[in-house]
């Protein structure tokens, strides 16, 4: 039974934020979703202080071994989330992690305070890939911005704070160290890599927003390297993600020091991918018990 930031998990596979809508999935798949929930914790899509409609389509594009997305964080805003979504997410049979994002410290504080005080919420993930409206800098690209944000948010809740790193930097480990020093409880990585494609039919960018983020197996080797670099730099537990599609892939991250892995794009191909991967991991571990110790999977 892995333990993560004091939360007991049934297995080490959770979902990546923004890649599973448990409310829609329950409508479509019925209670079988709950009976057989594929993840050991559920991470919400990122919510923002105010509602957002998301970006104009086209939002997604398939690439070799991956996809580009520019969804634009459609969500009901904090109030809508708390009123409409949270009660439904609370019915899931696993702990709930809520992902939040804002463009200034005051709004981030409001999110952390109001989400953090809800009993239904086990932990918060801070999506810091947005620009700070005061400094103009992308918080997660700057160690100092990240540390300052954490120092401001840390006192506002006793719930674990997970900082989700962007991979679009030269040294993700520097940002992870800043998160640790600011008081984060865990670090998750990677978010998507900046990417674009041209639609051969038009000669124009395939994604309406001009560019988006790359995910899927294509990015796995990059994710794994960033995880290893961050692992060497901080003591915090890590959530590893980026292109995990099988138990063997997940093992690469666990063997590299992740406490937990998250599955994103692969769920689009297989709505039960999380359970399949968790199951493959268990088989791998029972087949070669010598690895159990190394991987802290007992």
């Amino acid at each position: 039974m892995p333990e993560f930031c004091g939360i007991e998990l049934d297995h080490p596979v959770i979902n990546a934020s923004g890649t599973y809508d448990a409310i829609a999935a329950r409508r479509i798949f019925g209670d079988a979703l709950l009976a057989d929930f594929p993840f050991s914790a559920f991470v919400s899509k990122t919510i923002t202080p105010e509602p957002r409609a998301g970006n104009a389509p086209r939002r997604i594009w398939e690439t070799p071994a991956g996809m580009i997305n520019s969804i634009g964080l459609p969500n009901k805003g904090l109030d809508g989330f708390l009123a409409e979504d949270l009660p439904q997410l609370a019915q899931l049979p696993v702990p709930l992690i809520v992902s939040v994002m804002a463009t200034n410290r005051e709004e981030f504080s409001r999110l952390v305070r109001e989400v953090g005080e809800r009993d239904e919420v086990a932990a918060l993930e801070l999506n810091v890939s947005c620009p700070n409206v005061h400094s103009g800098l992308i918080v997660g690209e700057q160690p100092t911005e990240t540390e300052a944000l954490l120092e401001a948010l840390r006192p506002l809740t006793e719930k674990p704070l997970i900082v989700k790193l962007t991979p679009n930097v030269a040294n993700p480990e520097a940002v992870a160290v800043a998160a640790e020093e600011g008081g984060a409880d865990a670090v998750s990585l990677i978010n998507t890599l900046k990417a674009s494609a041209i639609d051969p039919a038009t000669g124009e960018p395939a994604i309406a927003a001009g560019h988006g983020g790359l995910s899927g197996p294509a990015v796995r080797p990059i994710a794994l390297q960033q995880l290893r670099a961050v692992r060497a730099a901080v003591e915090l537990p890590l959530v590893g993600m980026g292109g995990i599609a099988s138990g063997a892939d997940a093992l690469e991250f666990l063997a590299s020091g992740a406490a937990v892995v998250a599955v994103g794009t692969e769920s689009f191909r297989d709505p039960r991918a999380g359970a399949r991967i968790a199951n493959d991991l268990e088989t791998a571990v029972s087949r070669s018990p010598s690895r159990v110790e190394a991987l802290h999977l007992e």
């Binding site: 594009w61 398939e62 969804i71």
Partner: protein
């Protein structure tokens, strides 16, 4: 009725060529009978995302016909090869297996459900969009609901499915009328010409229009129906990565701003619930 949770492997039982397209059949032992308008996310078990190549994500395909049998539902699909995913589906061989998630999405409403006053249905399909019209037509016929069917295609090379899905005893079903851009069959011109003529007639205004086809055709149908104040349901397409509400990739603009996810709030959309249909 909800879809089985997760994807399941279904066997390919047939794959035939039909006027430029292919029609293949799967034996679905686990899923429920789909409703007309619903779709499935499909990916062949082999040669699909192997090592993560393209095709990588599953592809959304409407069910064209569904026949329950002892050993499961036979699902028929009409596909046009336009890229790596549909090309691979076109090549499916009997005996191989396909990953299936679904049935997904909503379905058509009967004319009465749309409009209690309605006298019948007009189905208008174009190109590959005739697929969901086939199962919907059969459903309406079985319930004795009066209907007319208008089908349009560019040319003979894009007339796949016509014989298999809209003919009986070797000839076109009597309720079906054709249009072709090159004039080789039926009215020469757009199928929406036929709809325009029909809507201009008195009797059509109490009908409900159902349509599936290329975006330009759907937009013409939507605009014509709005002009004549006739209710319509459009079976739309948008890029889909997941089909079950997870990716938010399938956004379609709503008339009042904002977006709907076509995989959960569609693919069947009331004409007045959608903004102008984007087309090149």
């Amino acid at each position: 009725m909800s879809a089985p949770f997760g994807r399941r492997a279904c066997e390919v039982t047939a794959n035939v060529s039909s006027g430029g397209y292919r029609i293949f059949s799967l034996r679905d032992r686990e899923g429920p009978n789909p409703a007309p308008g619903q779709f499935y996310m499909l990916a062949s078990e082999r040669e699909w995302g192997e090592g993560g190549g393209r095709p990588y994500l599953p592809r959304a395909i409407s069910v064209a016909e569904a026949i329950p049998a002892k050993d499961g539902v036979r699902l028929d699909f009409l596909v046009e090869g336009v890229g790596p995913g549909t090309d691979r589906l076109c090549e499916l061989e009997a005996g191989e297996r396909v990953w299936v998630t679904g049935p997904l999405g909503n379905s058509f409403s009967t004319p009465r459900e749309v409009n209690p006053e309605s006298a019948g249905a007009i189905l208008i399909g174009g190109g590959i969009g005739i697929a969901p019209m086939a199962i919907w037509r059969r459903y309406l016929v079985e319930r004795g609901i009066p209907l007319r069917v208008l089908l349009g295609f560019r040319n003979e090379a894009h007339s796949g499915g016509l014989n298999e899905l809209f003919c009986a005893g070797g000839s076109l079903c009597p309720d079906v009328r054709l249009a072709s851009e090159d004039g080789h069959a039926g009215h020469q011109g757009y199928v929406t010409d036929l709809l325009a003529t029909m809507l201009a007639g008195d009797d059509a205004t109490s009908a409900v229009v159902y349509s599936c086809g290329p975006p330009a055709m759907l937009e013409a149908v939507r605009a014509l129906c709005a002009e004549h104040d006739v209710a319509c349901e459009l079976a739309m397409e948008s890029p889909m990565a997941c089909g079950f509400g997870a990716c938010f990739g399938c956004a379609v603009p709503k008339p009042d701003g904002g977006y709907m996810r076509l995989c959960v709030d569609g693919p069947v959309v009331r004409g007045d619930a959608v903004a102008e249909v984007a087309h090149a």
